[in-house]
Amino acid sequence: MCHRTKRRFQEKQSRAAEASGGIAKERLKLMIDAQKRQLDDDTLNLIRQEIGSVITKYVDIEPENVEIRIVLKDYPSNRS
């Protein structure tokens, strides 16, 4: 009797782990995390400008000829 109850309990738990609610939670965690780390356009432009000015300090090149792309490798939903 006790064994059967235990087995049922385990079955129920494993089913809960496979159930879609857990998958949804995991997906949402990733999305919300990525969203928090996402940089807004103004900040991205500021980073570009600062990197650009550093480059023009050492390399003889006009600022308008420098193109900078920012790629955050770990966050696939982020725009480069």
């Binding site: 879609s20 949804a24 997906r27």
Partner: protein, 273 residues
């Protein structure tokens, strides 16, 4: 030339995104080339429902403002043969700077490539709604049998007909889709039936989607409900077939057919409205 079909509703949460996704899959299974466009700027959901959120590089705002080419923003859904999506953006910065002309030029170029362009409209009736509907060939107003949703659907229908009179650009087909329909509640008399809804709103009924738990489960997985053999799957497929031009009666879900009447009158769906 492709056809632009916009799903809109007025009220939020009635199933515009779910409908766009599943009807889109349905059309792609009919071997049509389909693109789904999410126009809910700032609150992107279509990619999440489709499970494509990790594949976004560029979005609708990037295309409209010329930051990337149309091709760069198209995400191909590898699970289906002819399905692409253009996701919306998460940031609201550009929301008010988008123009009709930008949208029209995007739709014109998509029309060259695709058979169907399905637009998921934002809720509400402001700028975003206008941008999603002004150039559509067919506007589908999604409603549930709930009173607030029907009321908002009526507002949207009136708005559309007023706009068509004021600025007649081109003929726009308008139809109604009833979502989350519960047979048991209608039988008990606790939910408005289809003839009532159609009479109240005075609109052509495109289809009915039955309430289905599988919608929530499939979206948790990031998959459409198509192919999961549940109650709503056939409903979506039927809507897709009607949009593709097939004459398909809307079945009478309420008046139960006895075995006797089925033998006597055949098993075919009875036309309801």
């Amino acid at each position: 030339m492709g056809e632009v079909i916009t799903f809109t509703s007025g009220k939020g949460g009635v199933g515009k995104t779910t409908t766009t996704a599943n009807v889109g899959v349905g059309l792609s299974l009919l071997e049509k080339k389909v693109v789904l466009v999410d126009t809910d700027i700032g609150l992107r959901n279509l990619d999440v429902v489709m499970g494509l959120e990790n594949r976004i590089l560029y979005n609708l705002v990037d295309v409209l403002t010329g930051r990337c080419r149309v091709k760069q923003a198209l995400i191909r859904d590898r699970r289906y043969p002819n399905l692409w999506i253009i996701p919306s953006s998460c940031s609201v910065d550009a929301k008010n700077s988008l123009s009709e002309a930008q949208m029209k030029s995007l739709l014109d170029s998509l029309k060259q490539e695709f058979d169907y362009i399905l637009i998921d409209s934002p809720a509400g009736i402001d700028e975003g709604f206008h941008l999603a509907t002004f150039d559509a060939d067919h506007v589908v107003v999604v409603t549930t049998p709930q009173i607030a949703s029907i009321h908002d659907a009526d507002c949207v229908l009136q708005l559309l007909s007023r706009r068509a009179k004021q600025e007649p650009r081109k003929t726009q087909e308008v139809s109604l889709l009833v979502n989350c329909f519960r047979k048991s509640m209608v039988r008990e008399g606790n939910m408005l039936d289809l003839p009532d809804i159609c009479e109240l709103l005075d609109a052509k009924l495109l289809g009915v989607i039955l309430e289905d738990e599988e919608i929530i489960i499939s979206q948790n997985h990031g998959e459409p409900v198509m192919g999961r053999h549940s109650a709503s799957e056939m409903c979506y497929q039927n809507v897709a077939r009607r949009l593709a031009g097939e004459e398909l009666a809307i079945p009478d879900y309420i008046r139960r057919r006895t075995l006797f009447s089925r033998i006597l009158f055949g098993n075919s769906a009875r036309k309801l409205v």
